[in-house]
Point group: C2
């Protein structure tokens, strides 16, 4: 474990656990949900508002930041924390996933990947060594290994090839990362939905040794059942004394199921992105505030919610500002959704600490099954 970086499990309930990740920039309560701040901003939110929702850490995207404004420029300006005015921990991904999903023309070799920017078509290169350099320039607190996540659908042979390449890149990432006190390096397990490949990947990563372990290659369109199928055994393949991070997840019920299966950290654009399209998340499920049924509804999105959106505004107002394409619609709904996600995480942590997770999860599903409040 890196100096100044630690993880302690404070309670266990079934496979689920709660605890704390200690970093020089603050403690991350787990299970933790990390809002995504792609281009050095959690879209439509000021950093103080993100912190007010209860977020202990956020995620930055290496791919976006290396292209614009560039890692070198952010370093010259004092690092990503100072640049975006966020002093709590930041986790950065390696850039590999978004090269595959966003960049134009790619060329993958053993050494790394060359690609064209989706912004201006300019040529760029990423490798384990360059990804470590960029994440260091950004000043990331939790650095992710550079890996290859194969695009779906993929044959088992293709998944096996990508998994083994990712393991060699994990060793190169470890070597390039070196010794950076207070900064952690996480390995990323691959292997698709094939148990033997998952086990092989976990064994290789564990042999190298990391400060935490991510489950990669999920939430890429395989569906919740297949994802839970992998999570049923994946956590057990990883060291119990290190944080486990499920990348890119997810909807509230994905999060609850992942926590039940031993996951400690997650990230997803869903609460912010769906807020910008008029979707509000509540304990009773997803509410489309663009729907005409909300046009004259004086009630808040969620009566029990304490966020600024729910304490200050009616559904009718949210409907109006969405229809009028006003920026405040994105601001209020993003804030609400992030608040809801963090409230859910606090509920999960409290339930695990009280060894009452089963009852919490039953109630979570029961309320969602009941659906939104009836129209006025």
């Amino acid at each position: 474990m890196a100096t100044g970086f630690g993880f302690s499990v404070t309670a266990v309930d079934g496979q689920a656990r709660c605890g704390n990740i200690i970093t020089p920039r603050g403690t991350i309560r787990t299970p933790a949900f990390m809002p995504v701040g792609t281009a050095a901003t959690v879209k439509a939110m000021l950093p103080g508002s993100v912190a007010a929702t209860g977020a202990d850490i956020l995620l930055g995207n290496t791919y976006h930041l290396m292209l614009r404004p560039t890692a070198e420029r952010i370093a010259a300006l004092g690092g990503l924390h100072r640049f975006m005015n966020w002093d709590r921990p930041i986790l950065t991904d390696s850039g590999g996933f978004q090269v595959m999903s966003l960049a134009g023309l790619r060329k993958l070799t053993e050494e790394g990947v060359t690609f064209k920017s989706h912004i201006d078509g300019s040529s760029h290169h990423l490798s384990p060594e360059r990804s470590m350099e960029i994440q260091s320039l950004l000043g990331s607190d939790i650095v992710m290994c550079f890996d290859e996540c194969p695009a779906l659908p993929a044959t088992e042979d293709e998944v096996a090839r990508a998994t083994r390449l990712s393991m060699r890149w994990a060793q190169r990432s470890r070597d390039a990362f070196g010794d950076r006190p207070g900064h952690a390096l996480f390995g990323i397990m691959q292997g698709g939905v094939t148990p033997d490949l998952r086990a092989e990947s976990a064994a290789a990563l564990t042999a190298i040794g990391f400060d935490g372990y991510a489950v990669g290659g999920l939430a890429v369109g395989e569906g919740q059942q297949a994802m839970f199928g992998v999570l049923d055994y994946a956590a057990g393949l990883l060291p119990a004394d290190k944080p486990r991070y499920l990348m890119g997840v997810g909807k509230p019920d994905d999060i609850v199921g992942a926590v039940q299966r031993g996951i400690d950290m997650m990230d997803c654009v869903l609460p912010s992105r769906s807020g910008r399209t008029g979707q509000g998340w509540t304990p009773r499920g997803q509410v489309n505030l663009r729907n005409a049924r909300h046009q004259s509804d004086p009630r808040p999105l969620d009566e029990a919610c304490t966020c600024p959106c729910c304490t200050g505004y009616s559904r009718a107002y949210l409907h109006h500002v969405l229809r009028a394409k006003e920026i405040i619609a994105s601001m209020l709904l993003t804030w609400h959704n992030l608040h809801y996600y963090q409230t859910l995480m606090q509920g999960l942590r409290d339930a695990i600490a009280a060894r009452a997770l089963t009852g919490f999860v039953d109630q979570f599903h029961a309320l969602r099954a009941a659906g939104d409040i009836p129209a006025v």
Copy 2:
């Protein structure tokens, strides 16, 4: 003067004066700048943030709100203050100006104006009586008479016709408004750039009697020199014991010049609109943050400014989020610009109270002439 509504001048310096407008919803310090909340939101701002900039009052647009979500719906939801979560005073315009500037196919008669919505082409009607009804449904604290502001360029005959129609509509507005304790009705002087018409308009309005008087028909493309030319005598035509409101003004130097000429209230979309296009206003003038010279600049937009944009972010960050089309760019620059405007108003009020307006205005112009800080 309406019951519960009052105006007191506390200091005079030349033609300029400072004072307080008292309303049941709070005191408005004058000279006052009113941010514009067109569609029940000051774009890209939460109401608490608008208040934090020092705004005592904001403006709502009758034309926009009557079309969407409709005045009747807002009334059913408890009025505009509750709808948009702003408990300080609100002034609403009459709708007349925006019918002329935004609506499709219009038909103007002595009775009123019929027009098509710019949103969906539906037919609507406004008259003095309907405008008073709508502004009452909204719960506006300061209601504006329904008038006709002729589109420029206009002949003197056309301006005279519109001015006299507006005076007949002012009487009908006064009759329809009735007695509404705590709510004020302002007349609107017209007359273009013709002194005799301005005097005729002022005399007619004063004879009817209003709680305040607006100078209309300016800031419609006539230029600063022509506007100041009217303001040089317009304030003197209006009662000294009532607030004078210059509609739709303006740039910082327009505001300073108007205050020097006896204006007490102004409104303009400029600080919010220009924030959304990357323009920042400082004591040294207008700064285009999209310009490449700011790309690596670690300094805030304005070193002396205490707003969240300037205390938390570099010009390089603002440049980045503008280029990346991030919502936070609009949020930060709108906040800064509104903060700058309110700081300017406080400076004007303090200078008038100290009978030191001339020195303040000299320094204002000197700093602007010096221009933005040199590039790094």
